[in-house]
């Protein structure tokens, strides 16, 4: 009698195992649906095309902006610079990117010198209209050109204002909304690195 019970119990083990692995598989499927891998293929100041793939193994901290934006763009770049300094040796595992949503004008004035004034690690990318649009769509973010006489050159850009974090395999991980203090971003990154 005892033996029968024991056998019966043992027979439930594979069932439980199968059950839990199905649940894990489902959770995994769910994660794969939720996660996505933004792509971009954009030139840096030297004209070299940079893609998401070349940064595999690093976390990417991505901002969409333009350098004729004297308010929230420099404020956010300053936060990024602070994060990179506070990460110390861990900073090697993080690559900050500034993707221009005003690429023609930003290519003209140049991004490297401007971004280096914040932190030497920040890489600026400015493509053509099509490549910029593709990158923006891939990140599921937003930008638009608005004609406005009260702006330099008669137009300005509206753009997503968050910082976006991609993981070492290129997965979209999260965003830090505008105004997230550098300390909070640093603490979150340190937990992930």
């Amino acid at each position: 009698m005892l033996k029968t019970i024991r056998v019966a119990l043992w027979m439930t083990v594979p069932v439980a195992l199968i059950g839990s692995s199905v649940m894990l598989w489902r959770a995994d499927q769910h994660e794969q649906v939720a996660a996505f891998q933004p792509a971009f293929s954009l030139p840096d100041d030297s004209g070299a095309i940079r893609t998401a793939g070349e940064f595999e193994g690093k976390h990417l901290l991505v901002f969409f902006g333009f350098t004729n934006c004297p308010d929230i763009c420099p404020t956010t770049m300053s936060e990024v610079a602070q994060v990179m300094e506070d990460l110390g040796p861990d900073a090697d595992e993080v690559q900050p990117l500034f993707i221009s949503v005003d690429p023609v004008r930003d290519r003209e004035s140049g991004l490297s010198e401007y971004l280096a004034a914040f932190h030497p690690s920040i890489l600026g990318l400015a493509g053509d209209e099509a490549a910029t649009q593709a990158a923006v769509e891939s990140f599921k973010v937003f930008y638009d050109q608005e004609n406005d006489a009260s702006q330099p050159g008669g137009y300005t850009m509206s753009h997503s204002s968050s910082l976006f974090l991609l993981g070492p395999r290129g997965d979209w991980l999260r965003q830090y909304t505008y105004g997230t203090p550098a300390d909070d971003i640093t603490a979150d990154l340190k937990e992930r690195l």
């Binding site: 004729n68 004297p70 404020t75 770049m77 610079a81 401007y114 505008y178």
Partner: protein, 159 residues
């Protein structure tokens, strides 16, 4: 005696901080303006920014209606607007300073947008900015140019 030493030490500790926090302040009528600052620029191709704190000590509303400075050919008032995570910076016709209120032009809010720069703005230097108000008239304040990386006023407005 001990008290005196403590007071002296306290003073010594406070003085450098105060020196750092010293802010130019200009008053006229009911208005006081202070903590005027701007970020250094790289060349003159990109617009600079202007931030300031305005205090209305009176009992009637006043409005900032324009700015003027020798460093920029096209200075304007803008407001950064964040809506559903998207930022834009429309022109602000005027900025209301309600009676008894303090309004700051600050990152993520109102700013002076200094377009057509006549010269690059260098950290450590300063430039005059004239603010035009509907009631109080014009006030001119010296604006400190600080690091391009600065995120807040480098000096506190007078208490």
């Amino acid at each position: 005696m001990l008290k005196l030493i403590a007071a002296t030490l306290g003073m010594a500790a406070v003085l450098p901080a105060m020196a750092h926090a010293e802010c130019a302040e200009v008053s006229q009528g009911d208005l006081s303006i202070s903590a005027a600052w701007s970020r250094a620029t790289i060349g003159t191709a990109r617009p600079a920014v202007f931030y300031v704190t305005i205090q209305n000590n009176g009992s009637t509303e006043d409005r900032l209606i324009g700015i003027e400075t020798p460093v920029a050919g096209m200075p304007m008032l803008h407001e950064t607007v964040l809506s559903d995570g998207v930022a834009s910076m429309p022109h602000a016709d005027q900025i209301s300073i309600a009676a008894g209120e303090t309004v700051s032009l600050a990152p993520g809010s109102y700013h002076g947008m200094l377009m057509d720069l006549n010269e690059a703005l260098t950290e450590g230097e300063s430039f005059p900015m004239t603010l035009q108000f509907q009631n109080a008239g014009t006030l001119t304040i010296d604006t400190d140019v600080v690091s391009i990386r600065e995120r807040e006023a480098p000096c506190a407005p007078a208490p």
